[in-house]
Assembly symmetry: C2
Homo-oligomer: 358 residues x 2
């Protein structure tokens, strides 16, 4: 199988390296780079050239950010090419349409690397959803924010010190807004919920970040044997669901409170299988490339299962309720995460959410 | 697809119930029960009748213990029927032969439910092993012993009290030897290592149980912020590997030390993907039936990947070294788990193993 690689950053380079080292019957025929950077025998700066090449049956998209990636994915599917992508921003921007396009053109669209890096989260979620009614999702899906929270936890440093350290290690971008503001997790939550509930997901759900967390707030939770993790949370009841992203208050002896460094951990609850958790490296060249290669093997072997968002579930804020702990000392119980998040944004203070027991 | 069910205990009944509720194109045509118990329209006590039925293309084996299950699996594969089994004892007794038989007769043999109940552990391990060199495995794979250890941990009760409680809840058998002695984990370790290293596994590896654990020993680890879990441990280096089962000393803030109740958690380390962990219900009717149905769907869709134990790895005790803490106060460092286990058996005292850092 001949593929084209779009993008040659950390993920693209690792995919290229592994496909050169291991002969799994998948060959890179072209690599798209930005104009000026396309120097090398396989490299091009023309996406049209790739699209027009009948020998290329699959596109591996590993560009940064939503555009031009989203346009390329759409065009590739319309041209009857399979697509593998690691790009959560592009996927989340138009997930139902992309899945429909893949179905319409009878090709596969796979995206394991987009949520949880090397963790086989989405594939296992899809499989669980075939047989189970998924009743809840949750997960630590951003390594940067987890690194910051864990470092503040275990070393007692400030938010700023922990962020600086994450940036020095290459975990956090120069502009860390997407990571610490919860917007990266928003994209992953949207993709995960779509697969879990097989329905188009409401794009306007609450997102609360950790930007305003202080050492003192964290210590006050510590004193009560609790920890904080930035998480996606989702609940489904009959044909309603809620989803949100927030710093979540957890017992110190929970699995999530013991997810350290930049690791991720995603959970599903099914009516048959119960609770499953998947833990691993949520980013990094080789782990992410491993997820990409697993997708490519499915396309090579023609074993990918198509996904249909053909259920009609309704979004209902009221399913996700709990207690909000605000940095100004306010504690509000029995409120929805949406209400609490709106209040936190309004008053511009940190808020941690403790979900009501299921 | 028409299947026959062998056995009608917790797993068999749950599989039958789910296949009746959900139409996934899989129909139970016959159910084998022991002579005298076969009352009902689908029931029979003749395995030969099932074997001779050309309409039955797949056998789901859920009998207790090694025999007659192992003989039935062999006969079914030889007759060109696919086999799904939840029976770790039968599998572990002759795993390389069973895999060869499946290959020879061009049928699938799947066994997700045999290790870790509802957790998709083996399938993900197989997939990881396609692309990664697996360098380590570990796991809590026995819910009964984990329940006992966790209960002693969190409630400060004695081993006997915790065991009685596990028996009352139906987690432990009247004779709990296989669970607390580590022999159940032995079978799962053998199956897991076979898939990880793609080689026939040495059947004579160290197994150390938790039968002789006392409250006082556990408290002495607690005082050092450590916990105990009964685990499979395995390490691979180049073409050598070691494997064993023992009560393992863990930091209290590790994931495994925070696996509570009767949950399981299995881990792999790959040279690309890094560490992955899979957590969930390791037993129970519905979770196990979910794993069985996932296997059946693979057979229905013809997507099962054949497994070949065609690598030639050598067993080497010396790869798995650490410190043994003996109940009589002896502490031995830098020894292999095999040596320490032999000593524990010889002197008939409890031993906990703390692996050397990798």
């Amino acid at each position: 199988m001949n593929i084209a690689l779009l993008g040659y950053g950390t993920v693209g380079k690792s995919v290229a390296e592994l496909l050169t080292k291991q002969d799994i019957g998948i060959t890179i025929k072209k690599i798209l780079r930005r104009p000026g950077a396309a120097a090398g025998p396989l490299m091009t700066d023309s996406f049209d050239e790739i699209l027009a090449d009948p020998d290329i049956s699959c596109i591996m998209e590993a560009l940064p950010g939503k555009e031009p990636a989203l346009g390329y994915i759409r065009d590739a599917l319309r041209a009857g090419k399979h697509v593998v992508t690691s790009n959560k921003a592009a996927l989340a921007a138009d997930f139902p349409t992309l899945l429909s396009l893949a179905k319409e053109h009878n090709v596969s669209l796979l995206y394991e690397a987009s949520c949880g890096g090397g963790i086989p989260w989405l594939e296992n979620l899809k499989k669980a959803a075939r047989l189970n009614k998924i009743t809840a999702l949750s997960g630590i899906l951003n390594g940067t924010s987890n690194y910051i929270l864990d470092k503040m936890d275990t070393e007692g440093c400030t938010f700023e010190e922990a962020l600086k350290d994450a940036q020095a290690l290459g975990y956090a971008e120069a502009d860390p807004t997407a990571d610490i503001g919860g917007f990266d997790v928003y994209n992953k939550a949207l993709i995960s919920c779509s697969l879990a509930y097989q329905t188009p997901i409401c794009t306007d759900f609450p997102v609360c970040g950790i930007e305003k967390l202080t050492k003192e707030i964290l210590n006050s939770f510590h004193a009560k044997s609790k920890s904080l993790r930035l998480m996606m949370l989702s609940v489904r009841k009959d044909n309603h669901y809620a989803v949100g992203v927030a710093p979540v208050v957890l017992p110190s002896n929970s699995i999530e409170a013991n997810v350290h460094l930049n690791y991720n951990c995603a959970s599903l609850t099914g009516d048959l299988v119960g609770e499953l958790k998947f833990y691993g490296q949520g980013a990094g060249g080789y782990p992410t490339a491993d997820a990409v290669l697993q997708d490519l093997l499915q396309i090579r072997d023609n074993t990918a299962q198509p996904v249909c968002l053909d259920q009609k579930l309704l979004y209902d804020d009221g399913l996700l309720t709990g207690t909000g702990y605000f940095a100004d000392g306010k504690i509000l119980s029995g409120k929805s995460l949406a209400e609490l998040t709106a209040l936190a944004h309004q008053s511009n203070v940190f808020m941690a959410f403790e979900p009501d027991p299921a």
